[in-house]
Amino acid sequence: MGLFAEVFTNLFSLRMLITSLLGTFIGIVLGAIPGMNGGIGIAVMLPFTYAMDPAQGLLFLGGMYLGSSYGGSISGILINVPGTAESACTAIEGYPMTRRGEGRKALYYSIVASGFGSIVGLVVLVLFAPALASLSVKFGPPEMLLLAICGLTIVGSLTGKNIVKGLIAAAFGLFLAMIGVDDATGKMRFIFGQRALRGGIDLIPAVIGLFAIAEMVKQAMKQLGSKGEENEIDLKKTSLLSVVKDTFTKHLGNILSSSAIGTFIGILPGTGGAIASFLAYGSAKGRDKEGTFGNGNPDGIIAPESANNAAVGGSLVPMLALGIPGSSTSAIMFGALTIHGLIPGHSLFVENGDIVYTFLYGMFLVCLFMILIGIFGIPLFSPIVKVKIKYIIPVVIMCSLIGAYSVNNSMNDVVVAVILGLVGVLFAKLEVPTTPVVLGLILGDLIESNYVRTATIVQAADVNFFFYVFTRPLCIVIFLLTVYLIWANIRVLHKSKRVQQESRIEQDVQEE
């Protein structure tokens, strides 16, 4: 009990409370600003934590991590500009709700789901970290290869009526992932003599370009076309209680399974919240019975938001238990630990239990702060939908360019963001969805590098590729999951087509 008494007195000191509150607040704000995100914030703030004691510094960074995972949904829902790749799916369902006047409701769903997901991820982290960490390393190159391919099946869920256009977009994303240094050989590919492309296409400038810049340009073009008239967007009052009630009755299965998906994906090294939210969204859509996804279905907010926040706790599992960060953001937190001379791993729990447990229990406090800031913040930031778009456009563009710059402190990324912004506009004109591009970009590297590794290992072992892959139980499980997801997607596609046809017939009947 001595340790816990120490942990709790430590945790509830004013210093700790202020640090975690501040971290969470900054995280939410950074997540919500298009172009900014938690990873950038954590990298920028990292040097400040060197002066703090380890647990305090970790909680500050942890607050930013958790907060930004939620914050990205705010701008996605309200102005259709997902602040992070993780909230790309949230915007697909959230923005239509805002247009219907249900912006507040969408935001409540988002914070409730984010809060619940966070708690699930953290509970798993606290209770099962060592056991799950040893499971996570069972995922070797062949498993990661199949998992990434499985992730690609989500394309179907991200696409409207025209699956071919979705596939084109995903293929474009996969192509973008090939630009730059080939990891396996160290050679350059597809840089067309442009030094700016040597670094390849980073995810953040791509998200900024395809979502933020493209959306703002589209809005500007719409404005010019409509000669300054704006469609007034309504902002209906919603009760938080009814949303909470709905979430845990109607959407209970969804929030539970999405949180589980998020935690699990987070645990796997080299993945992260974005893949978690895509997979959760895809599987939620696969269970959709009415074919209403894409038009503002709350399930499509709950799934990605609970998943990406659950992934936070998940990604800390291998980091703390094994010293292997599960995501790029937790990699920075790993750095924050090592700077204090602490090497994450089993001995950290034994030798520095006070630090680890202060951090772990502190994360629940962070989660509470996030929920409170989220709930009380909604009336404050939801009126942004009433702000004239001509005032929003320059602000978003400016934040986007700064955000793109700050990824690597490099103008190259700014240029990439602007060019992809134009690509995004072009895609919109051709009615090609842009979300699959991001999916392709995220998964392209995972697929390729793990394919090369698997192939190398197979060659060394001198066995057949398929024999090697399909004699591994986890591979078979993932393969079956992939088949199921494809089947579910086809089913949903048929259903939504039928729903559309029926509604068209109804319309025709009414018109007659």
Partner: protein, 317 residues
Amino acid sequence: MKKRILSALVLMLFAASLFAQGAGESAVADDYPSKDIQCIVIAAAGGGTDAMARAVTGPLEKQLGKSIVVINNGSAGGLVATGDIADADPDGYTLGVFSNTDVAGFAYSDKSNGIDVNNYTYIAALNTTGNIIIAKKGSEIKDMDSLIAYAKANPGKLTLGLPSATQKMDHELVNKTLGIDTTAVVYSGGNKVFADLLGGHIEAAILSAKFIKQAKENGMSVIGIMLSDRLSTFPDVPTFKEQGYDINNPAMRMLVGPKGIPQNVVDKLVAELEKGYQGDMTANISAIGECPVLLTGEKLQEFLKSDFAMREAFLSK
């Protein structure tokens, strides 16, 4: 109307490129430093290279009385930032931190990288470390002898994880010196290699010395370090050399700048580093588990000359 938006975007691109070219006036070297210095670190914040850079720049900025702004750019494994350092004005106000293995890897593995080792002023080497070979837990490989025996019994079947394509030289050195045939599995980052080693998907790996503690904690065998002397931070890890295989492949992180920094600026920085290594810097570097070594002037140039020659011979085949 649409044209207007397009032209605005083109202007934006143009402004962006101007920004990138932003020329700094060269200051008089005598009163160096008269303004803040930027230090380009070729790795993301939070990693080992970043920690190393900050361990030195922290005390250095206090000594110089001007801020040193650390700029992290880990794009393409540091390749982009390595190029940026060469392109900066050689006035001493843009410095950088990378290691001999980074710059030689970029320069010699692919000419289209546009990196040339002669485009830099090498001010000082800050620390030294080396790569180790670790075998997975439960492997037949426990030490040098069993490593060689296993590899000889299974030619081409021993999988060795590498943190990046740049380490292919270490792999070739091991194959050649030990007279064995192993298969390299290339990753992007030491953490991923370590994860797959933990999962038993690869038999062994070449990793940086910073993984020694984690490796031992997880029951893995550390075969040896590829240096001519043991590291003071890990005195119980034997070298390859003392086990009869002469591989000396040190990785030294260095404070560098673009080619042509005035000698008096270099001298000033070296003098301050020498002062710093008497106190804070050494303490900071030791605190992050690295082995502080300050190598400057003639000694550094000599080391680099032979080191780059060795790497060129291996990598530009």
